[in-house]
């Protein structure tokens, strides 16, 4: 084969590949296509909820299984001024607010949170990226805490507002937040963890307290908790999709 022809073939191949990529990317950005793909998420959620035990526990592991190299992702040292001030004072001024659609709004110190009904569990943390690490978490069970605040009839979701700004370019919508429905909020393994591997929760893992919702992926495990809000719907909060990553295209239901 002559060099000319080879070059021509190579060029033709590259153009074909280019066309293919452009076509795929174009499809990926077409709103109707995106809406169709998103239907699968609701189907997954509904089928998992319909066919599996809603109270089934995530697997718990023996102490030997705890990962020495538990990876921290997302914010690992928030620069937010209010957070730095709390950290400087070893979280003595930290309060966890529970409000929204509740009869008795709460504002709990760390000592008060630690006095709540608690649970310890050694579970696997699955990042949406694909990796897993195993750690031991101790924290206040969310269910009894919500009962203490008295959820109103209208409450459908529990929103977790966090101290860390993960996307400074997004302004007020750049702060991390997450949400759960009441089924996962009342699940026995859903806790507000203040200890990891029997020590106070490290900053990179969300000090002073983070959410653990063990049947979902890592991005649901909101760190640096500030406020827990009971709401009727998620539309009016930040980007309206129920979470920082959800506002950036990830599924609200992170059980898969």
């Amino acid at each position: 084969m002559s060099a000319d022809r080879r070059r021509w073939l190579k060029g033709a191949g590259a153009s074909l590949a280019g066309l293919w990529l452009a076509a795929c990317d174009r499809l990926n950005e077409t709103p109707a296509v995106r809406a169709t793909l998103a239907r699968a998420e609701r189907l997954t959620f509904k089928v998992q909820r319909a066919t599996t035990d809603r109270m089934a526990l995530a697997r718990e592991y023996p102490a030997e299984a705890i990962s020495a190299d538990f990876r921290a992702n997302g914010s690992i040292s928030p620069g937010d001024a209010d957070y730095r001030a709390l950290l400087a004072n070893d979280f003595r001024d930290w309060r966890l607010v529970v409000d929204g659609l509740v009869s008795t709004p709460l504002s709990l110190s760390m000592a008060e949170l630690r006095a709540q009904p608690s649970r310890s569990q050694i579970t696997r943390h699955d990042c949406v990226e694909g990796w897993s690490s195993i750690g031991k978490w101790t924290g206040a069970r969310l269910g009894p805490l919500l009962d203490r605040a008295g959820l109103s009839e209208q409450a459908r979701y529990i929103v977790f507002h966090c101290y860390d700004t993960l996307d400074p370019a997004a302004g007020a919508n750049g702060r991390y937040y997450e949400s759960l429905d009441l089924i996962d909020a009342y699940h026995p393994q859903t806790i507000l963890a203040y200890a990891m591997n029997d020590a106070a929760l490290p900053v990179k893992h969300g000090a002073p307290a983070r959410l653990r919702v063990e049947r979902q992926l890592g991005y649901k495990q909101a760190k640096y908790l500030m406020r827990i809000e009971a709401v009727a719907d998620l539309a009016h909060i930040s980007g309206g999709n129920g979470g920082f990553w959800e506002d950036r295209g990830y599924e609200w239901y992170a059980g898969i």
């Binding site: 599996t52 526990l57 995530a58 990962s67 699955d126 949406v128 694909g130 990796w131 897993s132 898969i256």
Partner: protein, 274 residues
């Protein structure tokens, strides 16, 4: 003319593939293509694989990385401790990434979009596969056309077929009406082993499904093992498809493609058997 003339082989069209087989074949081809491209996008979010429940970040059995090399980068793929330079394809292709842009959907990095495509086509694949398996089981396609007979499993017979295949000598005439043992083995292993394994290992990566069916974690030896097996099984399926396509081309592409569209397959029959 007298009876002494040489009878030329005659082409006849025989019914080869049933309607369900044909429809599910093409839907499967579409779904698997999209699952592969979006799956590689998802893999690129953390291009390393481990065995067991959790990741051992310092010692993946497979990893694709970019390493500084002078002013540029080199792509390095490590498999079971052995390093391979894979610049331009794996580890580094214009930018640090596991698989290159042409192998992922979308071409640019977007784990969120990759997941949406993957789960949409996963549903299509599962529903389509279930329809195929149920029809093949109840309609007798599995037993009649795919199940291996004892004689076909004899070593001598298998050896003969392997030699024939290697020389691209394909069955002719009456023999071509049926699948041979190698075809049966390949198709059966896909339909009953590797494709179902994709679903099972995929579900084992779902933390929600883990709580409902923890036995899957035990079956595959942990979530990270399931992720590794998902990758390996996908590689086996890709290898099958490559051989499948080569065989389609080598044994008469138009006849094969027509048979998977219209169901009719041409075979040559000696004039004598009319």
């Amino acid at each position: 003319m007298s009876g002494s003339t040489v009878v030329k082989p005659r082409k006849v069209l025989v019914a080869r593939h049933g309607l369900t087989t044909r429809i599910t074949h093409w839907i499967n081809a579409l779904a698997l293509s999209m699952l592969l491209l979006s799956g590689l996008q998802i893999f690129n979010a953390h291009p390393a694989l481990y065995w067991g429940q959790a990741s051992t970040f310092a010692s993946p059995w497979l990893a694709m990385t970019a390493e500084p090399r002078g002013d540029d980068f080199a792509g390095v793929t490590t498999v079971a401790g052995r390093r391979f330079e894979t610049t331009g394809v794996l580890g580094y292709s214009d930018t640090p990434r596991g698989f290159p842009a042409w192998a992922t959907l979308p071409s640019y990095r977007s784990l969120a979009d990759g997941r949406r495509w993957h789960f949409f086509f996963a549903w299509m694949f599962v529903i389509n596969g279930a329809i195929y398996l149920i029809t093949a089981l109840l309609g007798g396609h599995l037993r009649r056309d795919l199940w291996l007979k004892r004689a076909e499993l004899a070593p001598r017979h298998l050896l003969r077929e392997i030699i024939d295949h290697a020389q691209l000598r394909f069955p002719k005439g009456e023999e071509a009406r049926r699948y041979n043992a190698l075809q049966k083995g390949a198709y059966l292993s896909m339909a009953l082993v590797f494709l179902p394994l994709m679903v099972a290992t995929g579900l084992t990566m779902s933390p929600g499904f883990n709580a409902a069916a923890p036995w899957l974690l035990d079956l595959f030896g942990g979530r990270q093992s399931a992720r590794s097996l998902h990758f390996i099984s996908a590689a086996v399926i890709v290898a099958f498809v490559i051989v499948h396509l080569l065989m389609v081309v080598a044994s008469g592409p138009w006849n094969n493609i027509r048979s998977m569209i219209t169901g009719r397959y041409a075979i040559e029959i000696k004039g004598a058997d009319q």
